[in-house]
């Protein structure tokens, strides 16, 4: 009998990530819808709304935020439901692959596809609306951690919510509805200061507002624009805290609710 040891969780997770990406980029609807939707919305809505440079900066920042929530929360949730439907999860469960590796693979997928999406959006924003990209290393560092925390926390929530959806058909509703509502409550299309107090509070409970606020702090022409936020400042510490908290909530939810198959046990 062989006693060779099984491969490590992280290396399998990365191998899964490579395979997930390969499958993702081979599906044209992913490229058209997931990757280019925020850039397209920026192009359409920006043409109407963006009348001055500052507005372009803010709108681009919010759209990047909305975009990564879309890939992590909606896109990932859908892909887990699809994995359950087409037998991927059932097959994986019959192999010695640890569940954590599956999840690492999904995060890699969301991380890379969100990067593509954000890059495309920035190209459109710079080319069409003369948006200035942040120039200091400090701003890019903020971008990096907001991006990473946003991806991880929203991925976990997306996976947790996928347990509710029985098929890809109803997953679209389960996942898209909260996402669309949150975009309105989180200052993506309408500045949060224009919302009534109650709606603003609801929006502040969820990650999207904080991710967008983080990106706005990165893209603002100067820190004076912080007065336009609901709190009158960027609240970077609070952003980290809220996203961190959602990551923990997401981890608990996933470990409690994750379903390998649609049939009852």
């Amino acid at each position: 009998m062989t006693t060779a040891t099984l491969p490590g969780t992280l290396s399998l997770g990365l191998a899964r990530g490579a395979t997930e990406l390969r499958e993702f980029f081979r599906q044209k609807e992913n490229l058209i819808f997931t990757i280019s939707l925020p850039a397209l919305l920026m192009l359409l809505l920006g043409t109407v709304y963006v009348r001055e440079a500052a507005a372009g900066q803010m709108f681009a920042a919010s759209m990047i935020g909305a975009g990564i929530i879309s890939t992590s929360f909606v896109g990932l949730g859908m892909s887990v439901v699809a994995d359950r439907e087409d037998g991927t999860l059932k097959r994986l469960r019959g192999t010695p692959m640890p569940f954590t590796s599956y999840f690492i693979g999904k995060i890699v997928l969301v991380f890379v596809s969100s990067l593509f999406e954000a890059a495309l959006l920035m190209v459109v924003a710079v080319w069409r609306f003369d948006v200035e990209l942040p120039s200091s290393a400090e701003k890019w560092l903020t971008f990096a951690w907001v991006f990473t925390l946003g991806v991880i926390s929203c991925s976990l929530i997306g996976v947790a919510l996928s347990a509710i959806a029985k098929s890809t058909r109803n997953a679209a509703g389960v996942l898209n509805l909260p996402y669309i509502v949150l975009q309105f409550l989180s200052g993506v299309f309408i500045a949060q200061t224009m919302l009534p107090e109650s709606l603003r509070t609801v929006g502040s409970l969820f990650p999207l507002k904080w991710v967008c606020q983080g990106f706005r702090s990165v893209f603002a022409l100067n820190d004076g624009y912080a007065v336009m936020e609901a709190a009158g400042s960027w609240e970077l510490g609070k952003i980290a805290l809220v996203l961190g908290a959602w990551t923990i909530v997401g981890l608990v939810l996933v470990s409690r609710t994750f379903k390998w198959s649609n049939t009852s046990r």
Partner: protein, 274 residues
């Protein structure tokens, strides 16, 4: 030690008792077939053995481990061939087999596996472009890539054309010859007869008969039917001594279209599940 040992296995869904007390022993290296109509509890039983489903009662040991507690080491010794998966649709056969090989400590050579299941010409084709039979052979490839000691095949040839079924059978025979223990469920009696060392018939969540396909349900000792064509049409005699019967009959001359038959596995099976 047996590869599989089951005692008093029970599983209910709401009011429906899917598995109602099953005992089962499968020796190492054996090919064991579970026959039964739809809803007999075949898939539920197999999924419990695979660790994919909880049980209500009973003792289960698969390769010496309780499937409900099986870890990575245990899973790496199993090969599970799925019934109706459409996953890996955008991966090529080669990519899928190479990827799944990474999960195991000591996998088979992916290229050899592709060749073994007869997909060499399709190695560069994506999963979604394969025919039904080719798709199932990919499922087998992914099932055997980790050098399993025990393989589960749940209705592996449903929807195959006759040629694809024969090819599939020879593949299973090859794996069995290498010493792999195989548990398969099937609707097809000829499949059980061709592949299995022993079969069990499951009906209503219980095993109603068990044995070698040749002797199941007392088949070997059942009366034979001697049939021939005379001036008055086809004649039949049921007898326990067909040789003697034919000797007597043939004294009057040649018997046209003479046959001697015993109940087929299908006859026995249909009687068992009735």
């Amino acid at each position: 030690m047996n590869a599989i040992r089951v005692r008093g296995l029970k599983k209910a869904y709401k009011d429906h008792q899917a598995v109602a007390g099953v005992d089962l022993d499968v020796a190492r290296g054996e090919v064991f077939a579970v026959l039964g109509p739809n809803g007999a509890g075949k898939t539920t039983s197999v999924e419990i053995l695979e660790g994919h489903r909880d049980r209500d009662a009973g003792e289960v040991s698969v390769l010496g481990v309780d499937p409900a507690k099986g870890g990575r080491e245990w899973r790496s010794k199993l090969g599970i061939v799925l019934q109706s998966a459409t996953d890996a649709a955008t991966l090529t056969v080669r990519e899928a087999v190479h990827h799944y090989a990474r999960y195991y400590a000591n996998p088979r050579d992916p290229e050899e596996v592709i060749d073994l299941v007869g997909l060499t010409e399709k190695a560069k084709s994506r999963g979604s472009t394969l025919s039904g039979g080719q798709r199932r052979r990919l499922d087998v490839a992914l099932g055997i890539i980790g050098r399993p000691e025990l393989m589960f095949l749940d209705e592996p040839t449903t929807g195959f054309d006759p040629e694809a079924r024969r090819q599939f059978w020879s593949l299973i025979k090859r794996l069995a010859a290498e010493g792999t223990t195989i548990l398969l469920t099937t609707h097809y009696l000829d499949e059980a007869e061709a592949l299995a060392d022993r079969v069990a018939v499951l009906a209503g969540g219980r095993i109603v008969a068990e044995g070698a396909p040749q002797t199941l349900g007392g088949r070997a000792h059942a009366d034979a039917t001697v049939r021939w064509l005379s001036d008055r049409g086809y004649q039949e005699i049921r007898t326990s001594e067909p040789t003697k019967t034919i000797a007597e009959l043939s004294r009057h001359g040649e018997l046209a279209e003479l046959t001697v038959t015993r109940p087929s596995l299908e006859d026995v099976y249909l009687e068992l599940i009735a």
